[in-house]
């Protein structure tokens, strides 16, 4: 408990991490209340096209080539980015932990087979695999989420396996085994809590890279066609970049700052949870 408090203190005394938390909270707020601010469909035409930001007070970030409100699009887009990012990470973590824990805990033949399985998925170039999966399954928000989870679980599995192999031999685990505890109890109650710190750090970076992957997919036209996302806004703005570059720049800035916030949080967590690596700072 005291340790957890110390770690929180380290995390919250880091200005970069605080900036990350604050910005991410703002994005989450935008995602939650997008429908309250802009109840209509953000894909509807509301004003004349190509209003520049600041030109009309009612549309502070302007309108796009179809007369859609850019600010409404960015707020609604936050929803897709965060949902896909968090859901894909949760799925990837679950699968990765399950597979990595079994490999690391049981060892032997199970380990050999699972390591080979992980290796196959790590060898496949992840974005190419992602494009293939989404193209085969037809792009919707849920297929994109599952596909991102499929390409991101191997990292978690490797990490979990390494942690489990190291912790498996610790005295308290041997003691638990000696007391006759079952595998499930040892895995979930004894080893997993101690393997969590690196997984927590990884998960914030995973959300960041899931958001990047989702935006790249929808930029290429492989996102859910019925929902507005930051990537698809950039994809649409691209055609008019010569005359209306703000349509490409603004959603891009939303992605950059959200991903930056998550990476800053990841760095902060890393410093707080693994003080060993940050002595030089």
């Amino acid at each position: 408990m005291a340790q957890a408090r110390r770690e929180l203190k380290v995390f919250f005394s880091n200005p970069n991490a605080l900036f990350g938390v604050a910005f991410l909270a703002a994005v989450a707020f935008a995602a939650l209340f997008a429908s309250a601010f802009y109840p209509g469909d953000p894909m509807e035409m509301v004003a004349r096209p190509f209003l520049w930001p600041g030109q009309d007070g009612a549309y502070p970030l302007g309108t796009d080539s179809m007369g859609r409100d850019v600010l409404a699009g960015i707020l609604h887009g936050a929803r897709i980015s965060l949902t896909v990012g968090i859901a894909a990470t949760a799925l990837g973590l679950t699968a990765g932990i399950a597979i990595g824990a079994s490999a690391g805990y049981f060892g032997g033949l199970i380990d050999d087979l699972l390591v080979k399985f992980i290796e196959i998925f790590q060898t496949l170039p992840s974005f190419v695999l992602l494009v293939v999966l989404v193209a085969i399954a037809q792009p919707t928000t849920s297929t994109v989420t599952v596909a991102i989870a499929i390409v991101s679980w191997p990292t978690v599995a490797r990490l979990t396996r390494a942690e489990f192999r190291a912790i498996r031999e610790k005295d308290y685990v041997l003691a638990a085994r000696g007391l006759g505890f079952g595998h499930v109890r040892i895995i979930f109650r004894e080893i997993l809590p101690n393997a969590l710190p690196p997984l927590i750090v990884t998960s914030s970076v995973m959300v960041a890279s899931a958001i990047l992957m989702e935006s790249a997919l929808s930029f290429m036209g492989l996102g859910d066609p019925n929902r507005v996302s930051w990537g698809s806004m950039i994809g649409a703005g691209r055609d008019v970049i010569r005359t209306a570059w703000y349509l490409t720049a603004l959603p891009g800035l939303a992605i950059v700052f959200t991903v930056l916030a998550l990476n800053l949080i990841g760095d902060g967590l890393n410093d707080a949870l693994n003080p060993r690596f940050s002595e030089e700072r």
């Binding site: 060898t123 974005f127 970049i241």
Partner: protein, 329 residues
Amino acid sequence: MSAYKRVWRTVRKTIVQAVPTMLGIVILNFFLLKLAPGDAADVMAAESGSATVRSMAALRERFGLDNPILVQLANYLNNLAHFSLGFSPRYGMPVADPIGQRLPGTLMLMLIALFIAITMGLILGSLMATFSGRLADRLISIVSLLFYSIPGFWIGLMLILLFSVKLGWLPSGGDSTIGSSLTGISAILDRARYMVLPATSLSLFYLAIYARLTRASMLEVKSQDFVRTARAKGVSPFSLTTRHVLRNALIPITTMAGMHFGGMLGGAVVVETVYSWPGLGRLAFEAVMARDFSVLLGILLLSSFLVIVANAAVDLLQAWLDPRIGASR
């Protein structure tokens, strides 16, 4: 143990490991191809516009699509063993042809991007490690974190906006001036102008990773005894950094560069669509749009193979450079 012996051991170990991985990937690829909506007969029937149930059945028989799935898998493996990736009805040629045409473009782009990322990453990382904890370190580390957070396609578009649209210095897409009859040096310079923006867009993300990695591993090496000895011996700070610290810090970076090959191929897919760069990524994008899954999966298979080759090359390089690797076992 001699360097040759170490390398030979690594070669053997790599082959033993790579063969089952490749087989697993091939089988996975086959089942993905089966999952894809519509088989080759459907595509050809749609192309011709006049298909009957009987002609479809005949087509399926000709392509062996009416066989049990395991027989089809065996045929697929047999074709691959003869370096045939299948036939693309959409392009009207074997799948390997368009892929072979586009491969050099992508490899070129990736190698140049990797070169930029490693050189700049090493320079920035050494600067950070040298000034660790001071302003320069903090500034560069924020910049590198920013590079790490920028989507490649977006920075690509922003670079086009600045350097092509506003300043007019560099071309916005393609790989060489169309219809130009340049030869020799001027042809190379012309291609280089087209290479600058895509390679930069692709490299920024990796540049950030290498800079951070260089910083971390240099700080680690710096605290080791042999560095203190060298300093006590009176080695100049510059030569200490380059010859003693950086050299040892290079090993984790080469490992990472090998691991990033696959990631970079994926990055190239997006960057190539931004710059209409005639490479594999652009081909993958066209294949998705045309719903040509045989080409798409051919690209996936070939790129996985390239990842295996790249990893093996890095292993060999390290076995050659570092006596500690490959000596045990």
